[in-house]
């Protein structure tokens, strides 16, 4: 099966025949996944199905036992260090707990990746930090706070602002709404969708929360039986014959109806 060239260019990240084996435990078996530019893809699956492991492979934190991960058409593990760093700059990751540097203020957290580039003077950095703060709807005065002084929702926002600091093309979110109340989580989803629109992002996220999924995703990749059993739009899930997907589709369609 050949893929047209224009379609090939569109692929932001791709997992090709990935195997992950921990001791005797096979987590992924010949797994394939493609994420195309401009999509919001949700990665779902039962607990312990290896969603987060796959996410960590994609952002380059871990290396699969076998198989290859491509980011923007390049294999992260085969390019040299400088190229690797620049490739990593094209993706932003929001960790589940925010992973803010606790010794740095909010301002310095967001400025950190910008300073690492060593291309901007402090005034420009300040302007860019303020821009990122305004993007995630925080005020300049919040920049002076330390991560320990922030509420759960604010930590997520600052984490998002830091992930967006280098204007990445791919945004990777690990449980973006975990630990937020329904109202906050709804606002956070709105924010991500709006940012996706204004900045032209591609978003890949992992979630357990069906509401988040129904509100945010326009494509779903279902991880079950150690591989991707479905990769399609939410509404097409019903056409796939797999016990986990059927069960899952049943739950989600009830929610979608309620939302409408």
């Amino acid at each position: 099966m050949s893929t047209p060239a224009s379609d090939r260019d569109n692929i932001v990240c791709e997992a090709r025949q990935v195997w992950t084996v921990f001791d005797d435990n096979v987590v992924h078996e010949n797994l394939n996944l493609q994420v195309r530019a401009g999509q919001i893809v949700a990665l779902v699956g039962g607990s312990g199905s290896g969603k987060t492991t796959l996410l960590r492979h994609i952002v380059g934190l871990t290396v699969p036992t076998r198989g290859e991960i491509f980011l923007f058409g390049e294999n992260l593990n085969e390019v040299d260090r400088l190229k690797q760093q620049r490739l990593m700059n094209r993706l932003g990751m929001l960790f589940q707990q925010g992973a803010l540097f606790s010794a740095l203020s909010v301002y310095d957290n967001i400025a950190f990746p910008l300073r690492e580039l060593k291309q901007f003077d402090e005034e420009t950095i300040c302007r860019l930090v303020m821009h990122k703060l305004s993007l995630v709807e925080l005020e300049p005065k919040h920049g002076l706070l330390l991560p320990a002084q922030l509420s759960g929702g604010m930590i997520k926002r600052v984490g998002l602002a830091r992930a967006l600091a280098l204007e990445p093309e791919l945004l990777v979110l690990d449980e973006p709404t975990a630990g937020l109340d329904p109202d906050r989580s709804k606002k956070f989803i709105e924010l991500i969708k709006q940012l996706k629109h204004t900045l032209g992002l591609t978003v890949l996220f992992v979630t357990h929360d069906l509401d988040t999924l129904a509100q945010m995703a326009d494509r779903v990749a279902v991880l079950a039986d150690k591989r991707i059993v479905a990769d399609c739009a939410l509404s097409e899930l019903g056409t796939i014959d797999h016990p986990f997907v059927n069960n899952f589709f049943h739950d989600i369609s009830a929610r979608m109806e309620r939302a409408q």
Partner: protein
């Protein structure tokens, strides 16, 4: 994707007209805005230069901010933009960057810092005395209700800071004993005073070196571990969880550590001193030919047994002080990594300093005993 570049043309009057081309964004990996800014610098300051951004493929806020700063934070009619680009610059102009501007040279800073340090010291002292008081109250409480005594934690601490410290303290004591014994032997032989090696090593190790060595070892090994442990328990709110279960943090966390280490410290002193003496005796044996039998038989006659009592009292005191300081700093850790590392360092440094100060005081107070 083409990297960011620019093209310079001169018009009829010789005024430069600059056209920006390509991807003016961080997404294009070859871009280096520091270099672009340097090469554009002469035109930024030239008021007759006109700029054309309409052929730029993509402009992101990072690139826009660099240009904006170059143009002196304003857009005028020399610069031609698309509507979309104008929006980006307008947005940049609206941002409030006053947060950075407040930096001014601070002349009274050093003096103010000195004052702050004094206040900080007072705060530490107050908290420390408070902790001491709370601990005393908890001990009284436990005496009235012995069933509440945290026996498991107490024995766990004896094992962690006492039993597991045995190999390292033995090795350290033995090595220092050998080194000391060797150096002393050399000196004493020159005066023909070989026999005094027993006096010097006996008194020096039992009365001074043993407790000191134990204190330094325990401060570095168990003190730092305690500060870090309590600190992380604070960061992860485990301490608060204890309180919400109605369990006193002092009773469950601080008391077993303090009592455990205080209990085990005299034994560690004995252990360390014994190995040091053994090392010293070995050196004396090799260098001066003094037999082990003679060394240890002669020892009690020249070193009064009261010295051993003093040494054990010191051990108790040092163990108590080191743990209490470790717990004090642990309870002051704020929930960030910097504070954790600072508190752990301060804990060890303060504990060792305090032990040395107390030791000096002790030496003066007990100068008439046992010598």
């Amino acid at each position: 994707m083409a990297a960011a570049s620019f093209h310079i043309e001169l018009d009829q009057q010789g005024r430069p007209h600059i056209r920006l081309l390509g991807q003016w964004s961080l997404r294009s990996l070859e871009n280096d805005f520091a270099a672009l800014k340097t090469s554009l610098a002469p035109y930024f300051s030239d008021p007759f230069t006109s700029w054309d951004l309409q052929q730029v493929e993509q402009l992101d806020t990072a690139a826009a901010a660099v240009l904006w700063a170059g143009w002196g934070a304003k857009i005028d009619n020399r610069i031609s933009l698309t509507d979309e680009q104008r929006e980006i610059f307008d947005m940049l102009g609206r941002l409030d960057i006053s947060i950075r501007v407040r930096k001014q040279p601070d002349l009274i800073g050093p003096v103010a810092n000195l004052g702050k340090m004094a206040f900080e010291f007072m705060a530490h002292l107050r908290d420390f005395i408070q902790l001491l008081g709370l601990l005393f109250m908890e001990i009284l409480y436990v005496l009235r209700r012995p069933r509440e005594f945290p026996l498991r934690e107490f024995s766990a601490n004896i094992y962690k800071s006492g039993v597991t410290a045995l190999p390292i303290s033995a090795l350290l004591g033995f090595m220092i004993g050998i080194a000391l014994g060797y150096l002393m032997s050399k000196q004493l032989r020159a005066f023909g005073a070989d026999i005094f090696i027993v006096n010097i090593l006996g008194l020096g190790i039992i009365r001074e070196l043993g407790p000191m060595l134990m204190a330094v070892l325990v401060a570095g090994r168990s003190g730092s571990a305690m500060t870090a442990q309590i600190g992380v328990m604070r960061v992860t709110e485990e301490i608060d969880a204890l309180t919400t279960m109605g369990i006193s943090r002092i009773l469950r966390v601080v008391l077993p550590k303090v009592l455990g280490l205080t209990f085990v410290a005299p034994f560690l002193v004995l252990w360390t001193s014994a190995w040091s003496l053994l090392g010293g005796a070995m050196s004396a044996n090799i260098e001066l030919g003094i037999s082990f039998h003679f060394f240890f038989e002669y020892l009690p006659t020249v070193v009064q047994p009261v010295n051993l009592t003093l040494s054990l009292i010191k051990g108790l005191l040092f163990g108590f002080v080191v743990t209490l300081i470790a717990c004090h700093f642990g309870l002051r850790v704020k929930p960030n990594t910097e504070s954790l590392s600072m508190s752990t360092t301060s804990s060890v440094v303060t504990a060792i300093t305090a032990v040395i100060l107390i030791d000096a005081q002790f030496a003066i107070l007990t100068r008439g005993i046992g010598i």
